[in-house]
Amino acid sequence: MALTGSQILLESLKLEGVDTVFGYPGGAVINIYDDLYESSINHVLTRHEQAAVHAADGYARCTGKVGVAIATSGPGATNTVTGIATAYMDSIPMVIITGQVPTPLIGNDAFQEADMCGITRPCTKHNFLVKDIKDLAKTLKEAFYIARTGRPGPVLVDLPKDVQVATHEFSYPESVSLRGYKPTYSGNSRQIEKAAQMLLAARKPVLYVGGGVTLSSADSELLKLVEQTRIPVTTTLMAMAAFPQRHPLALGMLGMHGTFYANMAVTECDLLIAVGARFDDRVTGRIDSFAEKAKVIHVDIDPTSIRKNVEVDLPIVGDLKDVLGKLHGRLNQKPELVEDMVENTSEWRSMIDEWKERHPMTYRSAKSTIKPQFVIEKIAELTNDDAIITTEVGQHQMWTAQFFPFRQARTFLTSGGLGTMGFGLPSALGAQVAFPDRQVIDISGDGSFQMNSQELATLVQYKLPVKIAILNNNYLGMVRQWQQMFFDKRYSQTVMELPIDFIKLAEAYGATGLQATKVDEVEATIKKALETPGPVLMNFKVSREENVLPMVPAGKAIHEMVLAS
């Protein structure tokens, strides 16, 4: 049957299993929206195209499915760029559909024209401009395939208006064959055997786990390997929820705001097993002293991640689920050797326990002012650690990583690589759409919140009961912290002078606003928010000049931490 381009798009989305898309209409996608009017696909109208992409991103992060966002040409499309770059840095599978001016007008500086393939080339895994209706179904099939396979990432499909209107026989390809794209899933068995030998020989091993574990759904394989070998685990920001943080072998986060014991363990270890992590500068600190006593095993599905920042003794390219599963299987065949290894590493675990005792993850509690860390601990307690948590970017994000004891993969959605303020609210929106019955909470700062606060309208319109906790210090806190520590307290443009009435703001959108200014109001406020139906904004007036500690100053080695006193 002959269908129009926009019908082909919607039929293809259905065949890809897409039931929900996030977007914002406009002239160059009006045909798609006309077909959506009667479609079974659920469309969520955000209040900004950037938020539509973050929402699709949040949806993808908590479900593992490909997130889909739609925007019109020109400004609609350029508004998606921050969202796309955010997803790209964190390897999130997404397909972004942008309208484009009709093909005969491309290059003419037509109204609302922007070269989206050019603009998004460095921040997409791949992108397509569909110039001919004949290529549309095949392109969409390839876009979804590229987005979700290998190291996942966002793929943009730019769809000119005349292609949306043109008609063509619809047949969706069954398979994809791209001669230039064949990701390696199965880890080389000789390399895995070598890894097993290195593990068995280690006296001070540490697992350094990144977001790849979540992307590959390898969290249960990781847990099995840890239970088997008793190797301590430190996680990056992207992997905090991929390993249960209350586990006795969990060391928490490493790097710039990592725990004392995680950073010491990495500094002193003799074997570093990096899985699905990429040795980001916020993790490594001064690179030449990062794990300098250790041999390094690096497992990643993306060969470019390996040896990009550090030398590696044993590279293994493959899917983490496959590699960790096989490694566990191999070690299972050598129970005596594994037992010896666990025995031989017990001294190492005691050393780490001593570090944990000497400098636990802590903060100075106060009776007179609300400590932001206290709010996070209370949220964890009152949600039984079981909520889906999103964050914006800054101090509140680091405190959440430090103090929320995550216990289940895909429950911590945060912009790790790009560090995008304004990510938390729309990604919470996307998560709540994916899981209407789960508790979704955006832990926010007063600065970040205002970067996409218009999404309160979307929450109210779709009755999405997201709870927002603003840790309000009336500062751009993380920059202020740097200015305090390294710039003589010259708080240049980080003081948010205007005291915003967030309660009124919430109410203006039809949401509920709550506020806590005293320590003893915190628990009641959170309880009230959790009990109140619909979206609720909680404004916590927190201790203004609280710092995120430990902190490794830029350019220092990660054992050179400024610690909480």
Binding site: K125, G180, D302
Partner: protein, 163 residues
């Protein structure tokens, strides 16, 4: 160290900017780049010359391979290969220097492809070092313009390296 890399890519819209964007975005250097379709109209071959230590070269080849449009990447540096570049050189000539220019053309097995009373345009093919050589000798006469293609390479022996 200098490396000559041959990249077989899908002959499609935007592929050149994907490659050049990769180099500029990641701070890799491109000394020269030449592009043309192969026998198969669906693929193009790019020959590029770049510099860097082993770690940078490893990243360059991996990043090139990572592009969806890239079919195959060969770093010729460690292989036996033949390298050729074409140059067209416009040189001022008058009186004595006209005969001298022709002698140089002869020695380098180059060709004169255009003549005016005051100039020769010379075509030369060879390894980049040979082209540098003739330029050195012609320079005193006054070179008005040089157009170089950038080198292309092919592996020695009967086997095709790329496809």
């Amino acid at each position: 160290m200098k490396h000559t890399i041959s990249v077989l890519v899908e002959n499609e819209f935007g592929v050149l900017s994907r490659i050049s964007g990769l180099f500029s975005g990641r701070g890799f250097n491109i000394e020269s780049l030449s592009v043309a379709p192969t026998m198969d109209a669906d693929t193009s071959r790019m020959t590029l010359v770049t510099r860097g230590d082993n770690r940078i070269l490893e990243q360059i080849t991996k990043q090139l391979n990572k592009l969806i449009s890239t079919i195959k990447v060969v770093d010729f540096t460690d292989e036996e290969y033949i390298e050729r570049e074409l140059a067209m050189i416009k040189v001022s000539t008058d009186g004595d220097s006209r005969a001298e220019a022709l002698r140089i053309v002869d020695i380098f097995r180059a060709k004169v492809i255009d003549v005016t009373p005051k100039s020769y345009t010379i075509e030369i093919t060879g390894a980049p070092a040979k082209i540098n050589g003739i330029l050195e000798l012609l320079r005193p006469m006054g070179i008005k313009e040089v157009v170089r293609s950038g080198p292309v390479v092919i592996g020695r022996g009967a086997k095709g390296a790329l496809a």
